[in-house]
Symmetry: C2
Subunit: 230 residues, 2 copies
């Protein structure tokens, strides 16, 4: 694959930009491309891991199915985002389902090659430890979000997280629009479509957001942030 283009993507990534050139180079050398069709499953919870990934183009939906059989969406991952690394380090099965939300191009670092790399160069470990720590911290934030907040606040926080890139460690955070249906949002905060609709329209009334078809546009970012923090 085009090494230059790949390196460019790497550079945009919060975590990877801290990596020495050497690590980036070694990772690219062992990487492979993977193309997914819309709706295609990448892996299911419980699967054994064949590697870990970086989204190059498209969108990956991370979710799992709860005991009522309902799909609970954790997040969507967009280009520049790394995921699937946990199984690399403990050798245990996948923690979530991963589906391609649209046609998606992935960079894959195969398990075996990666283990070789680490064995040869254990000095690389600290960088990957920081990657795991970042994952834990984001996950803790997600738990905090759930706890004790009113639905209105949970919703506001979710929207902010989606705009700023929840698990998307990609730095480009310019866009003030998110493409997501109210039903999907409802899934994310474990609520009903109707309630989300009501709450969104309240935010619309307050000129904090603009609700469009399949899209939410943030008008007043500050006000949205205030809603979460107060």
């Amino acid at each position: 694959m085009d090494i230059l283009e790949t390196e460019k993507l790497f550079i945009q990534n919060q975590w990877l930009e801290q990596l020495p050139q050497e690590v980036i180079h070694d990772l690219i050398l062992v990487s492979k491309m993977k193309l997914l069709q819309k709706g295609q499953i990448l892996h299911a919870k419980g699967d054994n891991a064949e590697g870990f990934y970086c989204v190059l183009e498209g969108k990956i939906r991370i979710s799992n199915v709860n005991s009522q059989g309902k799909e609970m969406v954790l997040t969507w991952l967009e280009s520049g985002t790394w995921f699937g690394e946990i199984s690399m380090f403990d050798g245990l099965p996948r923690t979530h389902d991963a589906h391609a939300e649209e046609v998606t191009k992935l960079l894959m670092i195969p398990n075996v090659a990666f283990q070789c790399l680490l064995t040869q160069k254990p000095q690389f470990y600290p960088y990957f430890m920081r990657m795991l720590c970042q994952r834990i911290r984001v996950t803790f934030d997600l738990i905090d979000e759930t706890g004790g907040l009113s639905l209105q606040r949970q919703l506001a926080r979710r929207i902010l997280l989606l705009v700023n890139g929840l698990h998307n460690t990609n730095k480009q955070t310019g866009s003030k629009r998110i493409s997501i249906s109210q039903e999907s949002l409802a899934h994310m905060i474990n609520s009903s479509r109707q309630t989300v609709n009501k709450l969104l329209n309240e935010l619309n009334q307050l000129n904090i957001i603009q609700v469009h078809y399949g899209t939410i546009e943030i008008i007043d970012m500050r006000a949205l942030e205030r809603l979460c923090e107060i």
Copy 2:
């Protein structure tokens, strides 16, 4: 301190028992003791980390304060449990408050000494990576627990987690009793004391648990597990 006694505690720990003798020995050599009075704070969210810990005796309450000023308890840590390692690996502030629930004795691995150890022996890294992965997986489980489950199920899962040791990686899981007030349980599933009381009494009716003063006794573990899974 008494090295033999400390090693004995280490051995009981799920994560540490996988460590080579060499690592355990090195950790003990740099460790210090710390004694906390009942109610004393060990660290607050946002504090800089001076080290990480293992509970030797007593109980540590891990929590944080949400935006309404209400304390949200994440878990209690009992003897044999390690915690506070995240800040060790990314150098960032504490993610939670930690209070001594009663008089508590801790083993502390100071930050500086630990960093030295890792620098000298990078081959130890994989063991600590696994420690972080375990933390992530438990945290994901916690999120799953919250999402979409009825309160009755959340409660059942919590009780199971407390019995089996949620963040308590200590292996002794024999006990089928947990000492916890209904109010504390309510905090953990973000509910009210009254609701928890009602739900516990329903489980009592079904002969799944026995509710005592300040204590819950599990009668039918299988039934409890079934409640969570179905």
